[in-house]
């Protein structure tokens, strides 16, 4: 399984804080996972934004980052703290 979390504007747009998805060999990167989510259509298109940020196991990463069973992944808009 992989745990996928959504924050801030994405969480509101998707009406979803997070979900658990079965991992499979073709989900070999965050980009592949994002493509799977975009295929849901509708509100999920928000994840197509150029400015999207992502993290794997609580470390910022790029969409090219590999994905493995048991990972925690997060997608979120640009951060605005401080």
């Amino acid at each position: 399984m992989i745990e996928v979390l959504y924050f801030a504007r994405y969480r509101e747009a998707l009406d979803c804080e997070g979900e658990r998805l079965p991992w499979s060999a073709e989900l070999d990167s965050l980009e592949a996972l994002r493509a799977r989510l975009l295929a849901r259509g509708g509100a999920w298109q928000v994840l197509a934004e150029q400015s999207l940020m992502c993290a794997r196991n609580q470390e910022l990463c790029s969409l090219a980052e590999p994905l493995a069973d048991g990972d925690e992944v997060a997608f979120f808009p640009p951060v605005t703290g401080g």
């Binding site: 924050f7 801030a8 993290a55 470390e59 910022l60 997060a74 951060v79 703290g81």
Partner: protein, 149 residues
């Protein structure tokens, strides 16, 4: 505790003095305080809500502090960042840096804020008379962070 993410209000002056009190070798302390403004881009702000990513936010801040220690000779660093609902005039964030001489503390404080604003998972939502909206990231913050690369 050097890094705190909390709902509770804090007093910047107390944090600044505690940073100095921890080490008698400190000759310079620099403190940055970020506050909630009552106007943003010309619109009145009634309140601000800060969301974060429990677990990752603390790790991201610790990573930024570790990078600051690697780049400058620092005798202390403290970060306090509030989450939840804040009102105009309230402090959002405190970053304090301490060193023997001023330059390291000035530069490290600036670096930590630039990295915090572009790499630490916090998100601001403003409540205005027209409704609530999420604050967009600023290109100027990205440019500020790049100058440290």
């Amino acid at each position: 505790m050097a890094i705190r993410v909390q709902h509770e209000a804090f007093r910047p002056g107390v944090e600044l003095e505690a940073l100095h009190a921890a080490n008698a070798g400190i000759g310079a302390v620099v403190g940055f305080v970020g506050y909630v403004r009552d106007y943003n881009d010309g619109n009145p702000v009634a309140a601000m809500t800060l969301e974060y990513y429990p677990g990752m936010t603390e790790k991201a801040l610790a990573g930024i502090v570790a990078q600051a220690h690697a780049r400058w000779s620092l005798l202390g660093v403290e970060i306090v960042h509030r989450v939840g609902q804040l009102l105009p005039g309230e402090p959002i964030v405190f970053v304090g840096t301490a060193s023997a001489h001023r330059q390291a503390a000035f530069d490290a404080c600036n670096f930590i804020m630039d990295y915090l604003k572009t790499r630490a998972p916090f998100w601001k939502r403003e409540d205005t008379p027209e409704g609530a909206h999420w604050v967009d990231g600023r290109d100027s913050d990205q440019a500020a962070a790049r100058r440290w690369e």
